[in-house]
Subunit: 264 residues, 2 copies
Amino acid sequence: MSVMAMEDTEVQEPWLTLGGHKVISRLIVGIEQYSSPAMVRQVLETTGSQIFITTVDLETDRPSLLLSDLADELPMDQYLWIGTTSFARSAESAVRTAYVLRDRYGIEILKLDIRDDENRPDNKATVEVAAKLIEEGITLLPFILPDVADAQALAGLGCVALRIMASPVASGRGLPEPEEIRRVIENVDLPIVVEGGIGTARHVVLAMEIGAAAVLVNAALVQARQPLVMAAAMKSAVVAGRLAYLAGSMPGDEVPSAPTMKVS
Amino acid sequence: MSVMAMEDTEVQEPWLTLGGHKVISRLIVGIEQYSSPAMVRQVLETTGSQIFITTVDLETDRPSLLLSDLADELPMDQYLWIGTTSFARSAESAVRTAYVLRDRYGIEILKLDIRDDENRPDNKATVEVAAKLIEEGITLLPFILPDVADAQALAGLGCVALRIMASPVASGRGLPEPEEIRRVIENVDLPIVVEGGIGTARHVVLAMEIGAAAVLVNAALVQARQPLVMAAAMKSAVVAGRLAYLAGSMPGDEVPSAPTMKVS
């Protein structure tokens, strides 16, 4: 296959088809930390991300930015809208957030986060809540610590993708244990998004090189000295990592590529 | 500065101006292992590299590929031609190779390699030979182990760039000691090319993130299952790493970015 053909097929192929959207970009960005709709637009345009993550404040019953302000900036129907419960600090408030997002905003695709007191994913609670929400017809992309059994349980429940924590959220520590994540990737038949602790471009590339379907970044952009330049870096990084994974890197590498080609 | 402006200026700015060429691409590829001129063309085109590395066999007095065959494939005057002594196994044969490249082929820019019995750069011999060749008007980009004093000595002699070994040539082990290389980058006022042991895209990104001006790859492409796909990966990787370096990554990263902006 020629390189052009490779770029046209493998890199341009959707890794997720959901809600009428074919998601080709393998970069997902958290946008709830930006207070300006113009900045949200710039981040989404620069990264090329096709997913719009939104949430709702349970106290005020309002989303993170006014939708009317965003609509002035962005062709909002071109994005796959996903709700998030990442601000919920209990299973109960995550479930309530899910209901508000569905009932008030019609968002039935959920980036489910149930975190413990240390802001780490609570795998056990996540599996329990996932069962309940999926039963009610909500589509889930839950966030868990890398654990093959829990990941397989969530796949069995019908999640459409899994988000696996690389290192603590906003730590910038990257993937200290890439083998743990690779084990999940190789043993679960779902697209795996690597998320949490992604601090810079090489972390993104490593995640993609071990076979991740996509990477979610957030603090890496917000905390960079120049967020939009880092956004551009991340856009190139997912492509570099994906192509390297498909190319199959040479032996001798401390984290060798998967032995066989796998389109996730 | 907007991202577009950043991409137009910082990423599009030459890091090396030499022999009438402005070298903007930060990826250099070894091409002497390819036996087909068409493959050389595809590798150069896919990576976007602007440098053509050639050598001459001292036994047969011929370059690695017939120039007439290459000229059918490539607009050869669009490349910066650099000779290499990487096959020389002594200081004496490196010097002889340099003279043959200059006298027979008019190549006066040299990717000087003097390696020891274990195929590692011999810093001491390199500094000695560099002094002699520069005195004769030859332009040098020597290859050394990361050593600040030796790098400063070569800068003092008038080298135009330095190539610093990341890990043994063709090992694919990447940059096991990035701090050593960063110390050279921060203490020598020359473009630093990271070379040797680059096995996959994340190694390229790491090299660029610590402030390298460029990266040289060779075995990473030759030994990949799909060399041209890896070539495309590497092209995106230098851009990702350069932009991440310019963006300034967040704290918490185990190899933090340089504290101040530096255009090398």
